[in-house]
């Protein structure tokens, strides 16, 4: 059984936000215009978070891309009244959009605020509609959405591997953000395989998890800057 995880090397990361754009394109994330954005209703499945501490000129600043952590003990799953969000056997925390009732309990429970809500029905100008990704659903209004580790890519990769009569290789399945990352700061793979890149990196001295003390056990692991 796989346990998919991601490693983000902050020393390589340049804060370019390619992951954000790649995710938008891959996952049919709604276009939130200026007015709605000003109200804070943007949707980002992965978002670059700034941590800027200290006072001028002695500033400790850090930029940190934050996808869904796909926690081992997610706070969101427990609270969903209809079981619309759940963790599958491979540890991916998924949402079934057609079951979600939009109570937004999971969004408030998630300590990483990774979940977004569709305040309105997502709309695209008709000139653009055909350019939506055909592998990912278009969410309706009133449901919660978040990063799925590009699970649809896993389905495709599995299918492809099976057609080619071989095992699924780790490079078969990578999420869009990892694929696009220009400074190769993101790694993706099977944490259960002790020799996979992500496993090896996750055991590095620089490795840390976000809000580790909450015991959510994220499957997204960061490597801190510096030696």
């Amino acid at each position: 059984m796989h346990k998919w995880g991601m490693v983000i090397d902050l020393d390589r990361c340049s804060g370019c936000q390619t992951c954000m754009a790649a995710c938008h394109a891959e996952n049919n994330i709604a276009i939130i215009g200026p007015e709605e954005s000003a109200m804070g209703r943007t949707i980002h499945w992965i978002e670059l978070l700034p941590f800027i501490e200290g006072e001028y000129p002695h500033i400790k600043a850090r930029l940190l891309p934050r996808p869904c952590m796909h926690c081992e003990h997610p706070a969101c799953i427990k609270v969903c009244p209809v079981g619309a969000t759940y963790a599958n056997e491979e540890g991916i925390v998924g949402i079934v959009y057609s079951r979600c009732i939009g109570c937004r309990y999971c969004t408030t429970a998630c300590p990483y605020t990774v979940r977004s809500f569709n305040w309105y029905k997502p709309q695209w100008p008709k000139e653009m509609q055909g350019s939506l990704n055909r592998d990912v659903s278009i969410r309706g209004k009133g449901v919660v959405e978040k990063c799925s580790f590009c699970h649809h890519r896993l389905l495709k990769a599995r299918e492809k591997a099976k057609v080619e009569k071989r095992e699924l290789l780790s490079e078969d399945y990578i999420p869009a953000c990892v694929q696009a990352c220009p400074s190769n700061a993101m790694y993706f793979g099977d944490l259960n395989d002790p020799f996979s890149t992500v496993s090896i990196l996750s055991r590095e001295r620089r490795a840390f998890k976000l809000l580790e003390d909450l015991g959510t056990e994220p499957k997204v692991i960061y490597l801190s800057e510096g030696m």
Partner: protein, 164 residues
């Protein structure tokens, strides 16, 4: 007052009836396609539905596909003329879709046919033997129906396997 109430009841009943059955309207296909006859002529499923082994979808025949055989009149059927008309106008045949998944359900023909080795029959019935195009899906595609089969065949019953 009483007759009004009775009427109200009847009306509600009619309404429920319509909502129940009327929502599944029966589309008329633009061409009255005879699967049986084509099958008898030795036309394979994949000739018209070219993609079901390689893609998620199976595909409906394009006008050009029909014209490969029907370039010269093979029959006297009026529908043959219709196809030619489509061809002349550069249009595709506006096939009506019967098997439609809900918006967040992703079904892959390849996964079911090429990988799991299912037969077309399991979902589409004896369509190869039908003389008229079907007007409704052969099965009522409910989640339960899908999942029952998945359970039976020990296929993946993870939500994310279909809901993406």
């Amino acid at each position: 007052m009483k007759p009004f109430l009775i009427g109200l009841a009847i009306g509600t009943a009619i309404l429920l009836f319509f909502i129940n059955f009327g929502s599944s309207f029966r589309p008329e296909q633009p061409i009255s396609f005879n699967h049986k006859k084509h099958h008898e002529q030795g036309v394979e499923c994949a000739t018209c539905h070219s993609y079901f082994k390689e893609q998620t979808f199976s595909g409906m025949p394009k006008t050009a596909a029909c014209m490969e055989c029907h370039k010269d009149s093979l029959t006297k059927h009026p529908d043959e003329e219709k196809i030619k008309q489509f061809q002349k106008n550069g249009e595709e045949i506006p096939w009506k879709r019967l098997y439609q998944q809900p918006d967040d359900v992703f079904f892959s023909h390849r996964r079911h046919v090429a990988l799991a080795g299912m037969e077309c029959k399991s979902c589409h019935g004896d369509i190869g033997q039908s003389e008229k195009p079907p007007t409704k899906p052969w099965v009522k595609m409910t989640m339960k129906w899908c999942m029952d089969c998945h359970t039976k065949t020990k296929a993946n019953n993870d939500c994310l396997a279909c809901h993406v």
